[in-house]
Symmetry: C2
Subunit: 215 residues, 2 copies
DNA sequence: ACCTGAACACCGTTCAAGT
DNA sequence: ACCTGAACACCGTTCAAGT
């Protein structure tokens, strides 16, 4: 058994003597909130503070209110979401309809695997979406992407005649609705087993594309 | 000016002398909660109690907890939702695809006009859907209805070859997604004006049906 | 410049006591 | 049988005081 090192004076910054100033609290709070969401718990400022080992008032030095915390969490989640979609598109074939398909698939796969984060991004109950520059910009870019793919498809004569905006809204409603059915626990009542959800996601996207594509 | 009837003794149950026993509290609480939701406010048990002019503990004689109140509210909303869909189907033509269209339209119209009620029915964040017999039954019947219409359409040779379950899930994802985009405030970023939402709902349903129907 | 800790106004829920 | 009112454990948020 090793002797206790009683002679050595405690250094000013050992692990057990946490400094008064956290230094990194903003980041730690966002991670704690992200973690809470992943666990399926309600994100509360107090609980995030508790996990950051900090007093209940401390978060309010970094965020004016709970909404602002949620917005920061959403920005982080959206960044990851967008990164995954862009990665999928980088590996996708050149044909615009194939790219449209890859986009939808990547969207749904991320939503299926990160339901809590997806909800924070999309719900708008936690904070006003318009209040975040970054979220608005990211969103606009993703929308522009799908607009472009559809316009290309139309230009190459791949689509049956139809209003492009209508196709776009329908396509988005389809994937968003599917993601939310999953999130909101609707699939059991539609007899869709957990194990077949990702396959069904693919099937639903293919059905939609078959419906808009020229035969 | 009429003289005050001071001679007449106060009856035991005048309007201003509210009786200790409410008599109708369960109903009144549900209506108050429905009203709160309509106003866009968070439904709280205490506020519902306040509006029913009753103490904060009183609701718990009628509902074991907040979830049970929300479930009762959802049951009421679902009843109205279902009634409207069934009314629309009564007036709809006989052709199964026309009926499918009428169903989708009635679904979306109700969701557009009663967003708060629609959310309580569909979200599953307020209470466990499985806990309500009535909700489960109502839901199953609505699902059965659309199943039947699609089966009829297939039997009459109106559909392009495709898996019926897939069509059903896709159709539901489409309308649910559209309703939620409205609810969650997505339409501004898709440049869909409030005034054109119902027209767009129709367009999106028609696009879907054109996609599954035999040309 | 950033954090603590007490305080305030909320909430859901319980429970003894009243009618 | 049903309701009151005080109580408890939460929550978001503020603010004087500490480092």
């Amino acid at each position: 058994m090793p002797t206790r090192q009683t002679s050595k004076p405690r250094s000013r910054r050992t692990a057990e003597a946490r400094p008064y100033h956290h230094g990194n609290l903003r980041r730690v709070l966002i991670d704690a909130a992200l973690q809470l969401a992943t666990e399926g718990a309600e994100v509360s400022v107090r609980e995030a503070a508790r996990r950051a080992a900090v007093s209940p008032g401390a978060p309010f030095r970094h965020f004016p209110n709970r909404e602002a915390l949620m917005a920061a969490v959403a920005e982080e989640a959206q960044r990851r979401f967008r990164a995954e979609i862009e990665a999928a598109l980088r590996e996708a074939p050149a044909s615009p309809l194939d790219r449209f398909r890859a986009y939808g698939l990547a969207y749904l796969r991320w939503a299926m695997r990160n339901p809590a984060h997806f909800e924070i991004i999309s719900t708008g109950r936690y904070f006003a979406h318009g209040s975040s520059e970054e979220l608005t910009r990211d969103n606009a870019e993703l929308i522009g992407l799908s607009e472009q793919m559809l316009a290309d498809a139309a230009a190459q004569g791949l689509l049956r005649p139809a209003d492009l905006k209508r196709i776009q809204i329908a396509g988005r409603a389809l994937v968003y609705g599917f993601a939310r059915m999953n999130l909101d626990g609707h699939f059991p009542r539609w007899s869709v087993e957990a194990s077949e959800i990702e396959r069904m996601a693919e099937g639903v996207i293919d059905l939609f594309i078959a419906g808009i594509a020229k035969p």
